[in-house]
Amino acid sequence: MIRLEARNQTSRTLLFWSPILAVGITVIAGTIMFALLGKAPIRAIAIIFLEPLGDIFSIAEIVVKATPLILIAVGLSFGFKAGIWNIGAEGQFTIGALSGGSVALALYQIDGAWVLPLMCLAGAVGGMLWAAIPAFLKTRYNANEILVSLMLTYVAVLLLSALVHGPLKDPDGMNFPESRIFHDAATLPILIEGTRAHVGFVTAIVAVAISWLVLSRHIFGYQIKVLGQSQRAARFGGFNEKHVTWICLMISGGLAGLAGLFEAAGPVGQLVPALPVGYGFTAIIVAFLGRLNPLGILLGGFVMALTYIGGESAQIELNLPSAVTGVFQGMLLFFLLGIDVLANYKIRMTQPLSRKLSE
């Protein structure tokens, strides 16, 4: 009989290897899935996982996708560590794009080096305000933050659509539901000439570095860890649970809002109803893939971005629906969560009790 036995201490080695193992198993499962769908499996895997690494343009596209994923996931990791589940990052992302983008539209064709910083500020504040709703309802009225933040995602997406169909619509746009294209001073500078990789990526790296310092060196990082492990212990330690809830939601909301603004002022360049494409949800997987550790999230963000770009080429070359990416991402998280059991438990082969007794 196979049985699990609790380890005295979580295995750090396995904690490190399990994301890599999970990616490996996902590739194998993906091969089987493509074979079942009647597509050439090896070729499909090669297109998704290897081809995007081949040229500078694809790599730059990976950076474009990794930027919002890393920014959002780093923010989420604070709350997830403390057991505060903000799963409405998609909504905060949308509101960030909306508020930052509105600033760009209000200052249309006004030049100045301050325009872009102001937009970033508006984006981050927008995301924070949207996250403040679940934070307030959680700390004041005990309402479940998972459901509130998620419901607000639907509201945010509808709000963006309503405004882009109405007041923010491009006046010379033949009545299409999209805003004006942001002017140059309101567009993010490009990192590599000829690609879409923008300076938002630098911000993401800075966010990773600061988060790593806070989580590993600052008392707030410690408070989060204690709260996540045991609420009782945190209360005895005199940590204020409500403060931690607020700060965690403000960090994740602010970074998600900033990511949204970067998306609007970077690769998209305007406000459109289809701006939110699920980064807020994928970032949840990225956060787990990176073990809620900022450095791990940096790596995890790149892996996830790779599946996006690979999924897009698979869509074109093999006529697969874009949903393949979602299937891969879901599988990856499943395997990762399943394998994690090995870090906390040992597998023991034992004889059934009845046989032991008869011996």
Binding site: N142, V148, L150, M151, V155, H165, F281, A323
Partner: protein
């Protein structure tokens, strides 16, 4: 009068998928498991129900397959959370993301197709009663099934021995284990039941309500079902009430749009989500009552150390 009957019928049709999903999740949560994958199980039910109905020509087979698909997805969740002890919140989210992706992949060839909608039951005398006949006796069988299901679950939880054991597992899994009940087996069974219900709820959307298949057609109904379970304070009758409340908001919102009121369609579409939040706040406000009603072992992993 006709409009009123139309609205009432609309509410019932809008509420039924929520009833199925919420009742299923309620049983799961009573057993102490929080499955946030309701949205994923519903959409898998929606796509498989639709595809199988189209291929087989039988709505019954379609609905059964939807239940099987939902149950299978829930079993996957169960294996991860109950046998491999993974985090329930994260695994539930993974199930939703996976379900949305897989359903879009499976449904690729089916968008645009339509099936014959499920026929309404016509009971000779009763359905012909003016007004009352239209309001009470002229629906498809699944609507009656949803009421039957609610009644059965309420009876099962409150009056049967098996229901008592299930609740014991949800309230204190260590005590239940000490008494010799198979905590993991009971939870897996509850999960599969909840998944099957969510699958049927999803199939109701794609086979009866619309009837066609589009990606992401559940649009948050699985999450609303989760909110309804909190709203119901884990009582089946109140879950039914909650589902009808949300069905009502959805339909009234649609009719207001239809009347040509000068409010943007998107703003009205926000209503069901905003109402969900408001109701959630009102129910959760009383911390003590929320704690008393919630199953004590909800969202806690069970590990038998010996």
């Amino acid at each position: 009068m006709d409009l009123l009957i139309l609205i009432l019928q609309g509410i019932i049709v809008a509420a039924t998928p929520l009833v199925f999903a919420a009742i299923g999740e309620l049983v799961v949560e009573r057993a102490g498991v929080l499955n946030l994958g309701v949205e994923g199980m519903m959409i898998l039910g929606a796509v498989s129900g639709f595809a199988i109905t189209l291929e087989s020509g039988s709505i019954l087979i379609g609905i059964v397959s939807a239940a099987l698909a939902g149950g299978a997805a829930a079993l996957l969740f169960g294996i991860l959370t109950q046998l491999l002890l993974s985090n329930q919140v994260a695994t539930g989210l993974a199930l939703t993301i996976f379900g949305l992706g897989l359903s879009a992949l499976l449904g690729q060839g089916y968008s645009g197709a339509t099936v014959m909608a499920l026929e309404k039951i016509h009971i000779t005398v009763l359905s012909d009663i003016p007004i009352l006949g239209a309001i009470i006796f002229s629906y498809d069988p699944l609507i009656y099934l949803s009421f039957g299901l609610t009644g059965c679950v309420a009876w099962f939880l409150a009056k049967t021995r098996a229901g008592l054991i299930l609740r014991a597992v949800g309230e204190n899994h260590d005590a239940a284990h000490a008494l010799g009940y198979g905590v993991v087996k009971i939870r897996l069974a509850a999960l599969v039941f909840g998944g099957a219900c969510a699958g049927i709820g999803g199939a109701y959307l794609s086979i009866v309500q619309t009837p066609f298949w589009v990606e992401d057609m559940t649009s948050g109904r699985g999450w609303i079902a989760l909110a309804i379970v909190v709203f119901s304070t884990w009582h089946p009758g109140r879950a039914l009430l909650g589902a009808y409340l949300f069905g009502g908001v959805t339909v009234v919102q649609l009719h207001v749009q239809g009347l040509g009121v000068d409010i943007q369609a998107q703003v009205l579409s926000m209503l069901p989500y905003i109402v969900t939040i408001i109701v959630l706040v009102m129910i959760s406000r009383d911390t003590l009552r929320a704690k008393l009603n919630a199953p004590a072992c909800l969202n806690k992993s069970f590990f038998a150390s010996s």
